[in-house]
């Protein structure tokens, strides 16, 4: 489709024009554009432009050789245990589990006024500080590096709660990620995923039956 048009009229108008014919070369680029567009479409459809988000987690070491002194102990007053049970339900208790009182275990939910509200109230000091820092970062008073450094200091502060996440086999992966997500939202720096024990099974059963199990054991 490329055509070469000889522009003879133009040449003749010139007075005493040279004998060489001037050729204006017009190439039709339409097919080229068509092809390029096709290729672009192909590349656009086949590539993943956005990289997936990730969550970084650090699990405790399974090493049994770790000395007693190296193990960190959590104050009972600062420990919160989340119990992720099946059927998208989540329970929590504070400190050492009280097997005799079924009301020590509390049912909550994954939405904003459930678990998040509770954790924020427990961690209000740290989350306020982080919010302040965020504001400073937005106003460009502090750099990103400085911000993340300070946040990690706040998160590992003295009066922050430690959250222990225990998930039942019947809960699913989404529950776990939701729980980990709440840690991030509520600026909880110290959390751990722990193994499910029979204690939790007992607590939940006890809760569901309004304490009939603990009554049996005390009698």
């Amino acid at each position: 489709m490329a055509e070469i048009q000889s522009n003879e009229d133009g040449g003749k108008k010139k007075k005493g024009g040279s004998k060489q014919k001037k050729l204006s070369v017009h190439i039709d680029f339409t097919p080229m554009v068509d092809m390029n567009m096709l290729l672009i479409t192909f590349f656009m459809l086949c590539t993943s432009l956005s990289k997936p988000q990730t969550m970084e987690i650090v699990m405790p070491s399974n090493d049994k050789k770790i000395q007693k002194e190296d193990q960190s102990e959590v104050k009972a007053s600062q420990a919160i245990t989340l119990v992720l049970a099946g059927g998208d339900s989540v329970f929590y208790y504070q400190g050492i589990p009280d097997y005799t009182n079924y009301k020590s275990l509390k049912l909550t939910s994954y939405d904003a006024n459930g678990l998040r509200a509770f954790l924020l109230s427990k961690n209000s000091e740290a989350s306020l500080k982080v919010q302040e820092l965020k504001k400073q970062k937005l106003d460009q008073k502090i750099s990103q590096d400085e911000y993340s450094k300070q946040v990690s200091v706040i998160k590992s502060g003295k009066n922050t709660p430690t959250v222990i996440i225990k998930a039942d086999d019947r809960s699913n992966y989404k529950n776990l990620v939701d729980a980990l997500d709440e840690m991030q939202i509520c600026n909880v720096g110290k959390y751990v995923i722990d193994k499910w024990t029979t204690g939790e099974t007992f607590l939940i059963k006890n809760y569901r039956t309004n304490g009939s199990l603990s009554k049996k054991t005390t009698k």
Binding site: H26, L84, N172
Partner: protein, 198 residues
């Protein structure tokens, strides 16, 4: 009355500029593109607020489908062959050059090592079909998943990052198995791939 003569204008548009633009765009896409990896199972990752991006290279990604089948993929082909070799060695299986070459081009692998030879002999289309029914065994009696991760770590060195991509409906039991296997290998740092929360 003279007729009004409508001047005939040619409607030819110069496409040169347009072509310039498209070529530029094309170059951009060709240079930045990372092709979507074909995955044997469809996985919907749970949403989170986390905004850390995953690094592009040197990743061992562990894919877990809703039924709990585990697949793996790596991005360096040379290391894939080393990994296959070392896992094969432990089961007394040696692979031929041809089989290794076939293994190299796999996007995702997840076949018990004993069926690996038969699997590699199949054609690509058949492999894709059959892969869904397999999965790397993670149970405690025959934990090949551990071997794979250990072999991958050995051949990739300390820079290898482990990423877990699991479906949101995956039962926690499977995740627990995978996580405790990783813990046994002292792989205590890894990434969970999530989607952006809307």
């Amino acid at each position: 009355m003279s007729k009004v003569k409508v001047a005939r204008k040619s409607t030819r548009i110069d496409m040169t500029a347009m072509s310039d633009v498209t070529v530029l765009l094309l170059t951009f896409f060709m240079l930045t593109s990372v092709f979507v990896k074909k995955e044997p199972v469809q996985v919907t990752t749970p949403a989170s607020v986390s905004e850390i991006k995953i690094p592009e290279t040197n990743i061992l990604s562990i894919l877990i489908d809703p039924k709990g089948k585990v697949f793996m993929s790596m991005d360096k082909q040379g290391d894939m062959v080393n990994t296959l070799d070392s896992v094969g060695n432990q089961y007394g299986i040696t692979f031929t050059e041809k089989e290794k070459n076939k293994f190299k081009v796999l996007n995702t692998f997840g076949v018990p090592i004993k069926s690996m030879k038969a699997f590699l002999a199949l054609k690509t289309e058949e492999q894709d079909k059959i892969l869904v029914n397999y999965g790397i065994p993670t149970d405690s009696t025959d934990n090949q998943f551990k071997l794979w991760v250990r072999a991958a770590r050995k051949s990739n060195g300390p820079d290898l990052r482990i990423a877990i991509k699991a479906d949101q409906a995956t039962p926690y039991k499977v995740i627990k198995d995978v996580m405790s296997s990783l813990q046994d290998l002292r792989e205590n740092r890894y990434n969970l791939i999530t989607a952006l929360k809307k």
